[in-house]
């Protein structure tokens, strides 16, 4: 049996120096933003804010300078991310490109693709979405059906992507299409493409979630043409590439900090009430926060060292989702009070928002059951 490796990681002084800068910037930028808006963190989309973050040089932090990056360490990047999340900054517009689409292009993209897109991403002016899921392909990603058929000069695409976050506001999609069908090997024949969302033949329809927000979409392709130079990596290598991409998607601090603002509000509310009945539960929640942070930092350290922490990232995401999802329940049990959509205290409104979105935390980015399947494989059970 293989033991998971979580080597401890100490943040270098330059990362701590950067933390101060980020904190000062956010204190200024977010000073008038209501708590319930900040509670959206990486679901919050604000193009103007992303442009300012790009101006600061905090997007594409680790990328080569020749592509508009800043050649700083994964630890500095980590500090920027965690500060943004803890403060509730609306990072959604640039988040996906910074986290996974940019690194994907660095790994597998052509020189032309990199030069065209990475500098724009780093400026905080070019936004991405992820086209993996489909109506009949959720957890079973290799069941992808959307076809990219070879034609003169490119590919003709037909099919539907579903749940695509921010497709209605993004410039590009990194999409997984089927270029070849082999009934005996569904993992073969998948290919990743860069899709300009202004392409004729693409219809984007926002889907309203249970809380009334429209952030994910149905994206329908009808004879949409994608030119040859927009293929990412090599034809048929999509499965391997997407697996590498998912390691980035699952490894960050957003996988345990989505409800952080609620914990902060709970602590504030208990102090205001002079209530010490929840001391022990709050202490446990803080202990878990600290532990998850160390685990998450450890994964960042492995990424910095060029290792593949896919297994460890799944461990953090599973524990992190339990934590994020548990916070609204704990708040309800420990503090009571009615969750409110508007017109309540900060605590009531943040609770109202998070109680509704919490179910998604163990679905998006790979469900709890799928992650545990990956972990079980790591334990040698499958």
């Amino acid at each position: 049996m293989q033991e998971f490796r979580f080597d401890l990681c100490t943040l270098p002084p330059e990362a701590e120096a950067l933390r101060k800068e980020v904190r000062a910037f956010l204190a200024d930028e977010l000073k008038d933003m209501p708590a319930v808006t900040r509670a959206q963190t990486w679901m919050g989309f604000d193009a103007e804010f992303s442009r300012k973050v790009g101006e600061k040089g905090w997007i594409g932090l680790t990328w080569p300078k020749k592509y508009g990056g800043h050649e700083r360490s994964a630890f500095e990047r980590y500090v920027v991310l965690e500060e943004m999340l803890a403060a509730g900054a609306p990072v959604g517009a640039h988040w996906i490109a910074d986290r996974q689409s940019g690194p994907l292009l660095l790994n597998f993209g052509t020189e032309e693709q990199r030069q065209m897109l990475l500098p724009e991403i780093a400026k905080g002016t070019c936004f991405f979405c992820i086209g993996m899921s489909e109506p009949d392909s959720g957890s079973d990603l290799a069941a992808t059906r959307t076809r990219a058929e070879k034609v003169e000069g490119g590919y003709k695409v037909n099919g539907t992507k579903l749940w695509t976050s921010n497709a209605h506001k993004a410039h590009y999609m990194i999409a997984l299409f089927r270029t070849h069908f082999d009934p005996d090997n569904k993992h073969a024949g998948l290919t990743q493409f860069l899709v300009d969302l202004k392409t004729p033949g693409i219809t984007i329809r926002p889907i309203t979630d249970l809380a009334g927000n429209a952030h994910f979409n149905e994206v329908v392709f009808e004879d949409a043409f994608v030119p040859d130079n927009m293929l990412v990596g090599s034809e048929g290598s999509g499965w391997g590439q997407v697996t590498a991409e998912l390691a980035y998607e699952r490894s960050g601090p957003e996988r345990y900090l989505s409800s952080y603002l609620l914990l902060q509000e709970m602590v504030g509310e208990l102090k205001a009430r002079g209530d010490s009945s929840a001391d022990a539960e709050i202490g446990r929640l803080i202990a878990e926060l600290v532990t998850l942070r160390q685990m998450s930092l450890s994964v960042a350290g492995m990424l910095e060292a060029g290792e593949n922490p896919a297994l460890e990232a799944s461990v953090v995401k599973d524990l992190g989702a339990i934590y994020e999802q548990g916070l609204p329940v704990k708040a309800h049990e420990l503090l009571g009070g009615e969750p409110r959509l508007a017109g309540g205290s900060d605590y009531e409104e943040v609770l109202g928002y998070l109680a509704q979105v919490a179910p998604s935390f163990s679905l998006r980015g790979g469900t709890r059951e799928i992650l545990r399947g990956i972990i079980a494989r790591g334990l040698g059970l499958r």
Binding site: L263, S276, D279, E312, L319, A376, L379, L381
Partner: protein, 347 residues
């Protein structure tokens, strides 16, 4: 791991795995002192891992000690190895040399007045087998801590045990003369550092629980296949493994903090986190491990209980998760919501 750490890990695990047979564990539970095991540990210098090299120790820090403690937990070592390691560290802080033989720790209950010890101290690990005890007693100014080393051979001891049948005796002192005494700067208490010992030992016991359970799931067949092939079992084992990983990270983090802050004695926060996390992992992990093992794991014949009974006692010793969580939570609420994140990231 650096060179010292690799040597310690190899030595401790090889020695403990080789010596701690089922017979040894059963004999220890029946009350027999494991003199051979202890002698082997001393010959390899393991009880002195935190003693400076100049005093004949290994000169390690908590990162090194945790390797030995984890191994002790993993192999259910039925001797006060952790207590003696901690005693050596405390004595070195006061410039007091370490005696031979196992040394135990006395927390609440005993007082040091003019070099004489008095009071009744419950729950003293292995007191009946220990040659000496280290006693800590905060000075009234709360700026420093009195420390005394006292021989136990003539002390009045009322024998008791925890769930794992490890000796947890009551020692009644009536003016015994300290063999040595001194002072340590700052407030140092047995409960805090004992909690670090148990958090490390628990992380080792949890790892062994995971290993045993994964192995069993691969061997036990029902419905024509190993039970580990059933998804319901796989998901349970995955959950078990995430909590074992979390407890290990929290313990390692506390040891790193202890090395970083030991002068100021302010690793209290991280040690509390580690004990809370180990406690929570133990609650979950012992349940899953027993469920997967079925009835055989519920027998004395099977070895699973050597780990699970330890975990059930250790999670409560030197402050339960709840005790420590109350302290953490209270302080955090006092500081207020806005101070929480800066506090967490400054650690």
């Amino acid at each position: 791991m650096n060179e010292l750490q690799t040597i310690l890990s190899d030595t401790a695990n090889r020695l403990l795995a080789g010596r701690i047979t089922r017979k040894v564990l059963e004999a220890a539970e029946a009350g027999e002192w494991q003199a051979g095991l202890w002698q082997a540990l001393e010959e390899n210098g393991l009880p002195r891992v935190l003693v400076p090299e100049s005093d004949g120790g290994a000169g390690g820090g908590w990162a090194e000690a945790s390797i030995v403690l984890k191994a002790a937990g993993r192999h259910a070592a039925p001797v006060p190895l952790g207590e003696t390691i901690l005693a050596g560290w405390l004595l070195a802080k006061a410039g007091i040399g370490m005696p031979d033989g196992p040394v135990t720790l006395v927390g609440a209950g005993a007082m040091i007045e003019k070099g004489k010890i008095s009071g009744k101290a419950p729950g003293v690990p292995y007191a009946r087998h220990a040659s000496h005890a280290v006693i800590l007693h905060a000075k009234p100014d709360a700026q420093s801590t009195k420390i005394a080393l006292v021989a136990l051979k003539d002390a009045a001891i009322e024998e008791d045990v925890n769930l794992a049948r490890q000796p947890r005796d009551t020692v009644v002192f009536s003016g015994e003369e300290a063999a040595e005494s001194g002072e340590i700067p700052g407030l140092v208490d047995v409960k805090l550092w004992g909690a670090l010992l148990r958090a490390c030992e628990m992380s080792g016991a949890l790892s062994s629980l995971l290993e045993q359970t994964v192995q069993y799931a691969g061997e036990r067949k029902q419905f024509g296949k190993p039970i580990g092939k059933f998804q319901a079992i796989q998901q349970q084992l995955a959950v078990l493994s995430t909590h074992v990983a979390a407890a290990n990270v929290a313990a390692a983090h506390a040891c790193a903090a202890a090395d970083k802050y030991s002068e100021k004695g302010s690793a209290r926060f991280e040690i509390a986190v580690a004990k809370i996390r180990a406690d929570e992992a133990a609650n979950l992990a012992t349940g899953i491990a027993h469920q997967v093992h079925g009835a055989i794991g519920f027998t004395y014949e099977h070895s699973l209980h050597f780990a699970t009974r330890r975990l059930w006692s250790w999670r409560a010793e030197f402050g339960s998760g709840r005790d420590w969580a109350k302290e953490l939570g209270h302080a955090a609420i006092e500081r207020g919501g806005a101070a929480l994140w800066p506090f967490v990231t400054a650690r």
